[in-house]
Symmetry: none
Subunit: 254 residues, 2 copies
DNA sequence: ATTTACATTGACGCTGCGTAAAGGTGTAAA
DNA sequence: TTTACACCTTTACGCAGCGTCAATGTAAAT
């Protein structure tokens, strides 16, 4: 009995394209080809296809399958055992991924604004990583290696409640900042409230508070374009305005 | 501060190719391009890249990420929740796959011959699925809807021991069949033993045995090319020989 | 003789880049 | 100033496993 591509595809439940592809990659060649170029398969090919599909079901790649079924004394079970290990690794990966996604979703319960939270999240990341990478040295020189280390550690070791609190404070800083900016007066009530919130926010990561350090950070907001961009995104000039407000709050000379 | 591709790639820990690709698909365009055609990124782009990498870590596709970060009021959490569902589905699939692979490996303990077992596995599949698809109707007409249903159910509901037993019987049928075929005598002792083993094998799936049905099936082995192919693979003419033996065994007129 | 069903060989598309290849720039050392 | 060398650019194939046209030839049924 001979089968054309379509007949075999019906028997095996695969597409004709698949059969042609299997021919192309040499994993299943037809028994013969007739004068019109038609592929004709015999029962041996049906069996072989069934083996291929069996291993395919197991998730093995076609190259692997080719090796298994072409080399007569190849240990199929051993291949499956190796394959199993790969699958188990994949499963671990997937589970970690799912855990991460779920953690991210759960973290959102605090419900700031997604984009705000993200920005803050990114901001936090930047504070720790980039600040460390690029400004680490000068900050260490200014405030001491120990202070910086403690700050970073505290940042990473925060509980979720603390993180939430800090996030809320950050949100408060943002909101009052933009409200204060509209008043145009960095010495005004709103602007000073912003500076106060900002101080509270800082206290979450700073070991000890000093007006000088606070003012220094405010100046950095203006000097470092990455910080400037963060505050200026919604409102150009906001970084500078915040610095002025903090300078007044800390009694720094402008 | 402006970053070239390489600088940005260092900051973000991605390849320059990735940055160019992100430019190409429009997910992250540089702030500006200088006279020499160099890509220059600003801090806004650093932020955007960080968002992109965040979602990428979550396993989202770039097209999805593009939507999330390009459309300002798109709900990122919702996207993550949908994504989570997909990941969970993937996990279920993967677990099923692993279970299958492990079952296959375990089944090999019985140590038939791998290829024989596979063929039988495929044969079982064909019996249930294809038989149902192509000959279901005529068999139902012949033996009744109920009989067929019960047979299929029993086939699928078999325990592993039963399956093993059945597998051994199938192997016995094959071996004695080819031995008997050499004798050339379908009425001989070996051939009749084959028929007997075949009856026992049938009993695993048949609700009740009848000589007529047995003979009917034997005829089908010859009529249906797929069955013929199975028995004839090792020995052309074996299917016909088996039918003759069974006809004699059941006292059917040839 | 015509329609219909089925066959063939290309060849592009999908995902997210890795990896050359071939050639212009920027900067520092000789 | 030349030379070297690091860094930039665009173009394009490769991967895994087919799905999906497109253009065209053949077998079988009406």
């Amino acid at each position: 009995m001979e089968y054309t591509v379509q007949k075999l595809s019906h028997i095996a439940g695969v597409s004709t394209r698949t059969l042609r592809y299997y021919d192309e990659i040499g994993i299943l060649k037809p028994a013969r080809i007739n004068t019109s170029g038609y592929r004709l398969y015999g029962s041996a090919e049906v069996d072989r296809l069934q083996q291929i599909l069996f291993y395919r079901e197991m998730g093995l790649g076609l190259e692997n399958i080719k090796t298994i079924i072409t080399e007569p004394d190849f240990d199929g079970i051993k291949a499956l055992q190796e394959h199993r290990m790969k699958l188990l690794e994949k499963k671990v990966q997937l589970e970690m991924l799912i855990a991460n996604v779920e953690k991210t979703i759960a973290l959102d319960e605090g419900r700031i604004n997604m984009s705000d939270k993200e920005k803050f999240e990114g901001f936090k990341q930047k504070l720790v990583d980039e600040n460390e990478a690029k400004y680490g040295q000068e900050i260490r020189e200014k405030y001491g290696d120990d202070t910086v280390k403690k700050s970073n550690q505290r940042f990473k070791g925060m509980t979720e409640e603390q993180y939430d609190e800090m996030t809320k404070l950050a949100k408060g800083v943002n909101e009052t900042l933009y409200a204060a900016f509209i008043t145009g007066d960095p010495a005004g009530e709103l602007a000073q409230m912003t500076a106060e919130l900002h101080r509270q926010w800082l206290s979450y990561t700073w070991d000890s508070y000093s007006k000088e350090a606070h003012a220094g950070l405010a100046q950095m907001y203006v000097d470092d374009p990455r910080f400037t961009a963060y505050y200026d995104e919604k409102q150009p000039g906001a970084a500078e305005f915040l610095r002025d407000a903090i300078f007044i709050y800390t009694g720094q000379n402008v």
